[in-house]
Symmetry: C2
Subunit: 235 residues, 2 copies
DNA sequence: CGATTACATATTGCATGTAATTTTATCGCC
DNA sequence: GGCGATAAAATTACATGCAATATGTAATCG
């Protein structure tokens, strides 16, 4: 294999090679240049990035730990494949974590947080109106990012970020990402109002309902997808 | 330093050295032979375990990912010190995760799960009656372990296990572990009944209340501790 | 005498060597 | 042509080498 899947341009030899290898590989996975099932070869990446195998090995270990890859003894690591059932259990987790984030964010909410969310919502509104799916995804992630930052619980943030990465991988594997944009927008509106309202318990429930609905729509989409495949098979 | 803090007896040279080093070091931390603040020296551990530095380095990285140690560039890793505020935020997380575990366990609960919990409760009851704090801690952990196993969500289990490790470290750093044994026992009773009752939402709330009360008692204990110290200073 | 600098020592971070194991390629055979 | 055994190549897991950096200590200076 002579074609490079990793972008070595951002690597500067000399300091923090593990971090840099980690970012490059992670980016390759999340952008699907490394699809689920792809092998993460230590010597291959070391060649591509023009660094030694040690930092690459460490970077891959980190990726594994984040749940983006899994390895078996003496056979190396591959990008994880996340099925629908696993995706559901990820959303089970996400539901309670986003709920907690909303609750804590409501406790801590000052005007800047609310402003950030309002700004996000406006941009999100425009994106949805013009049917820009990519930007919708981006702003949706940013919305939840604001809330978890406002929550001020580092472990919570890490866990949510980790789930987000796995969700991104699963999305390609199983279900399409379009659809439900309007609903998401409306639910974000409700959540912003709840946070402004100042009752942590209410905000938590609104956030949880939001994620629950995402999970359900995911389930439906997967069923539809399945049905679609069945139909094609029947042809 | 010639005294060994790690127990190398369980290491067999030849396969899976990273896992073995990881377990030994983790055990040393959780058993407090390596107190918070202790340095985790790669060459020192390699000497003690009589293996090379590579697997030791990897094992320590894993310990870091788990939140049991933290490292700064070119200065190596030290066992984390977890203050009261951080412990509180750990319990915030734990609250919603144990709630989720109880909810999922209730969905999945068969007679064996309930039986396990009942058996645990009996043993726990005996331990509390005889004032055995160590055994109380052990059975308390086992109780929650049964529930999260029954929940059948791997990521959830990992997250809870990780928090449990950090809680163990924090307990020494900040607050005593005795106290609240009777309350814990009573609340476990309520939770078992809720799981048997079969309503997932109820079980979730009971579990969350249980953890919330633990967090609050923790807070109180810390305050009392603080007060105690102040009084001694006044003498 | 305390603070600062220079040096010695130890450790981290990365590079590379090597045996064991797995994967891939080659071959003979049906 | 397809299939199984064998050999070659590549990869993993671990060991070790080495330069850069940090820590501790002694010498120097104000």
């Amino acid at each position: 294999m002579t074609q490079h899947t990793l972008d070595a341009s951002s690597i500067t030899r000399g300091d923090g090679l593990v971090d840099k290898a980690y970012k490059v590989i992670r980016d390759a996975i999340l952008s699907r240049r490394l699809a689920p099932g792809s092998r993460l070869s230590v010597p291959e990446f070391a060649r591509q990035l023009d660094i030694s195998r040690s930092p690459v090995r460490e970077a891959i270990a980190r990726i594994e730990y984040e749940g983006l890859a899994e390895s078996t003894s003496h056979r190396g690591a591959v990008v994880v494949q996340i099925g629908l059932d696993e995706l559901i259990s990820i959303y089970d987790l996400r539901e309670v974590l986003e709920g907690l984030a909303a609750r804590l964010a409501t406790r801590a909410a000052d005007t800047t947080v609310i402003d950030d969310l309002e700004q996000n919502w406006q941009a999100h509104h425009d994106a949805v109106e013009s049917g820009d799916v990519e930007r919708h995804m981006e702003l949706d992630a940013a919305f939840h990012g604001h809330i978890r930052d406002a929550a001020g619980n580092l472990r919570l943030s890490d866990n949510l970020r980790q789930l987000q990465g796995q969700i991104r991988i699963a999305m390609t594997t199983t279900v399409a990402r379009r659809g439900g944009m309007d609903a998401a927008l409306a639910e974000h509106r409700t959540l912003i109002d709840a946070i402004r309202g100042g009752d942590p318990a209410v905000a938590e429930n609104v956030a949880r309902d939001h994620i629950t609905r995402l999970r359900e729509s995911l389930h439906d989409a997967a069923l539809a997808d399945h049905h679609h495949i069945d139909e094609r098979h029947e042809t």
